[in-house]
């Protein structure tokens, strides 16, 4: 842990100098991030490493926030940031001990990362597939320590992987909780589906039943449920608390944001503001029970609980976002879901979605589809877009699969912050939804 030697008590005392009233919110955010990438075959330079650490100090007073961020963890950088957010030297500044993030660990074994592309190619060969492929695999590690005058939670650490494939007919990619044979299979399966549908005609526009595989359901839930219930999104259309108690989805939908239930390397006990995370029931039997909120919004209403703040790096303020969504499983097998959707579409992957926070319209793009025939899955089809209003689409969920899978819902880019988002979801059946 890079911040294990950080004198958090001294930092907390220094932050306390900025507090002028009980409503003031003050915190310091120390972070370290590392990305290691193995580039596509033959592409210089070879192994690529990004190592990044720094700090940010924040003061929120009434409706005004002040943030100062630095690319360095040191006493000087912290004191300067403190002065900038105070916009004056604090009245009495206790001397601070030296601050630092500790040395970077010695280089660890990158062999699994380097072998991952070869594993994918091997998997493709086993499926008798070969096509030009530029595959980049990255390992991401992140450590953070939040300190506020009243609160010093445990330091947090995360590790995950991402991949991106440039193909002659487009790009494909995703997030992985871990590397290994299962991950290679997952990447190869996605690439094979993309290859098979590369020249396929898109499905005819119309209203058809849809079966979303767990990976596609993960993206759908992130875009349609999580984004719709982020307090900053809700505030664009009115009072966020007004969403509580509203029926947003069908009775079969139980959706929980639960960062503490994530796989071990992603698991969190506190959010990016240092607040304890909780199992946050966004939808219980389709009804909104809680929304995603951070400390800034929680100051304004007791109905809003903090603990869902995230920030992609220190140079941006935290914002309410989901981290690990769970859609509780139903009872249907995939075969039963497909049997209930003859003539419909099976969607095994989803790309980017868009939610209009003011009008409520929603769209989600799928890179390819597959026809559902009487005898099961039929021919591959090209890209298509699911369109509708969020509540209308969520109320069209008529069955939920029994078998859940952990899936990366992808990189969320809302508000200029690029954050990895995750979900644990089963397959879903949507009755008669509009596809173009």
């Amino acid at each position: 842990m890079p911040f294990s030697a950080l004198d958090s008590a001294a930092v907390a005392r220094a932050l306390a100098q900025l507090v002028a009233g009980p409503e003031d919110l003050v915190d310091a955010y120390f972070e370290r991030q590392e990305v290691v990438a193995v580039p596509p075959d033959g592409e210089p330079p070879g192994v690529r490493i990004w190592r990044d650490d720094g700090l940010a100090v924040r003061l929120v007073r009434e409706d005004r926030s002040f943030l100062a961020s630095r690319d360095e963890v040191s006493r000087g950088a912290f004191e300067e940031a403190l002065r900038q957010v105070a916009r004056a030297r604090p009245r009495t500044m206790a001397p601070l001990p030296p601050l630092g993030a500790g040395a970077w660990p010695a280089e660890d074994d990158l062999t699994p990362l380097k072998q991952a592309p070869r594993g994918v190619v091997r998997q493709l060969r086993e499926r008798r597939l070969a096509f030009p492929l530029r595959l980049t695999v990255r390992r991401h590690r992140r450590w953070l320590q939040v300190v506020s005058p009243q609160l010093v939670p445990a330091a947090q650490a995360e590790r995950w992987y991402s991949w991106q494939a440039d193909l002659p007919w487009g790009t494909s990619g995703g997030l992985l909780a871990e590397l290994g044979r299962a991950a290679a299979e997952e990447m190869a399966t996605a690439l094979a589906a993309s290859f098979r549908a590369r020249d396929a005609a898109p499905p005819a526009p119309g209203r058809v039943p849809l079966v979303l595989a767990p990976a596609a359901a993960a993206v759908f839930l992130h875009e349609a449920v999580a984004h719709a219930l982020e307090v900053d999104t809700l505030a664009l259309g009115g009072t966020p608390q007004a969403a509580l108690g509203v029926r947003l989805g069908s009775a079969g939908l139980d959706v929980v944001d639960d960062p503490a239930a994530a796989p071990a390397d992603l698991r969190r006990s506190s959010d990016d503001e240092g607040c304890a995370v909780t199992a946050r029931w966004l939808l219980r039997a389709g009804v909104v029970e809680q929304v995603l909120a951070d400390r800034l919004w929680a100051r304004r209403s007791t109905a809003l609980a903090p603990g869902a703040a995230r920030r992609s790096h220190r140079h941006v303020p935290p914002a309410p976002r989901s981290l690990y969504l769970r859609l509780l499983p139903g009872v249907a097998t995939l075969e039963e879901l497909l049997a209930a959707a003859p003539g419909g579409l099976f969607l095994d992957a989803a790309e980017r979605g868009r939610l209009d926070p003011l009008g409520g319209s929603f769209s989600l793009r799928f890179p390819h589809a597959q026809r559902i025939g009487e005898a099961g899955l039929g021919e591959p089809l090209g890209p298509c877009v699911l369109r509708g209003r969020v509540a209308e689409l969520l109320q069209r969920v008529t069955a939920v699969g029994a078998e859940t899978r952990v899936a990366g819902a992808g990189w969320c880019a809302k508000g200029g912050q690029r954050l990895p988002v995750w979900a644990e979801a089963p397959a879903l059946l949507l009755a008669e939804a509009e596809v173009t």
Binding site: G54, A68, L358
Partner: protein, 432 residues
């Protein structure tokens, strides 16, 4: 010790291992001011980082990190890919823009500027209000040194503004983006007027299901289209792509001359060298409608003339060929108003409402736009939330005239265009 000395120190340590190496340092300071439903934010940011590329004909590595450079590493084991770096070439004489010396916007100035825009908007269009704003004012210093003899240091200054506005309880909002050398050049009245035009264009109108006509495209619309098309002109394969789009000698209408220039006078990203230390220059990609040459980096040049076009927006980024100031050359003799006045039936599209999409494989694009229907040279009715839909080849061949009002948008490099008149495109209610 200055930045170049620091870079030299790192090179010295790396040179001990043999092979080639390059050190890139970047420092920046900035102020950000934003208005949003969360309230008002004032952000003071200081960034500092460095990157090293090192290797030989067999293997190499890339390391980037925040803070001051660490000459003694530790450096990772080079991997199985070769590295080539450009030889040093003396750039043409360069004069730094005067604005790099001017102080960044102060807290009160930033907040006052946003408040002034909000007040001007409310005056310009009753019921209109600023729903969000982000103002950034920053400066940076980049330093580059390599074992090939490259030694370069350049400074840049950039201010960017993004505004979001709504009228009353309308569910439609519009945005406006502008960039300048420094934030003090933003004029609240002009910005409010541009926002009011856009709100008026989307608020009351209902776009036709599908219609053609002469399209007068304002600079932000053309810039967005050019940004979508930019990959077509990159790399040695661009010649084949251009050939596939039409006859090689007449790829586009005669009014189309497309240029990229990394040292454009008054250009916001202008610098004497690119992210690899290669001198920047003007490159004409399409001249009077005919394909002339692609945009290629030094290591891609082949039969083409290369230019310093390796973009390196931050110390985290590997240098990547791309446009710096890519623009459609304006016609200094033509006023935008004259183009508009000559339209008997068509549309004047003011701005985009989002990025839209362009599929370069199928050659089709759709842009969400706002604007007005035009009859006999005058705005007849707002168009509402419409889409501009068409084909890439038809767009390039359909540009009939260009005006002189060149303006740039920040779209992954600065992309610029004047107002143009285009035919062969459609306005639709939905992207289709």
């Amino acid at each position: 010790m200055n930045d170049l000395d620091r870079a030299e120190e790192v090179l010295e340590q790396l040179a001990g291992g043999g092979g080639d190496a390059e050190v890139y340092l970047k420092e920046g300071r900035g102020r950000r001011f934003s208005l949003s439903p969360e309230g008002e934010l004032c952000h003071f940011v200081q960034e500092q980082g460095w990157a090293v590329r090192a290797g030989d004909g067999r293997c190499s590595f890339f390391v980037a990190a925040s803070g001051p450079p660490r000459p003694r590493g530790p450096w990772p084991e080079p991997d199985g890919y070769p590295l080539r770096l450009p030889d040093a070439v003396e750039p043409a004489p360069w004069r730094e823009p005067a604005e790099v010396e001017s102080p960044l916007l102060g807290e009160r100035e930033g907040v006052a500027l946003l408040a002034a825009i909000a007040e001007a908007l409310a005056r310009e269009l009753p019921g209109a209000r600023l729903r969000g704003a982000l103002l950034e004012d920053g400066s940076s210093v980049s330093t580059l040194a390599s074992t090939q003899g490259v030694r370069a240091r350049w400074r840049q200054r950039l201010a960017a503004l993004r505004l979001l506005a709504r009228r009353g309880d309308s569910p439609v909002e519009v945005s406006l983006e502008r960039a300048e050398r420094e934030a003090r050049r933003f004029h609240p009245g002009a910005l409010a007027s541009a926002l009011a035009d856009r709100l008026a264009a989307v608020d009351a109108g209902a776009p036709p299901p599908r219609d053609r006509g002469d399209m007068v495209l304002a600079p932000p619309v053309v810039a967005r289209l050019l940004a979508h098309l930019a990959p077509l002109w990159l790399g040695p394969e661009a010649a084949e792509r251009a050939a596939a789009l039409g006859e090689r000698t007449r790829l586009a209408a005669a009014a189309v001359t497309l240029v990229d220039d990394g040292r454009l006078p008054e250009g916001l990203l202008s610098a004497p060298v690119d992210g690899e230390g290669v001198p920047t220059r003007e490159v004409v990609l399409i001249e009077a409608g005919g394909f002339r040459q692609p945009l290629v980096a030094w290591w891609q040049r082949g039969a083409w003339q290369s230019s310093g076009c390796a973009a390196r927006p931050s110390w985290r980024d590997l240098p990547l060929p791309g446009p710096t100031h890519l623009y459609l050359r304006p016609d200094p003799a033509v006023r935008a108003g004259a183009l508009l006045a000559a339209i008997s039936r068509g549309y004047y599209l003011l701005d985009t409402r989002g990025p839209g999409w362009c599929d370069l494989r199928t050659g089709r694009f759709a842009l969400p736009v706002c604007g007005f229907a035009i009859r006999d040279g005058r705005a007849q009715a707002p168009l509402g939330a419409a889409w501009l839909v068409g084909g890439v080849a038809a767009l390039l061949r359909g540009i009939q005239a260009v005006a002189r009002d060149l303006a740039f948008s920040s779209l992954g490099g600065m992309i610029g265009a004047p107002t143009v008149v285009a035919t062969g495109l459609e306005v639709r209610r939905a992207p289709g």
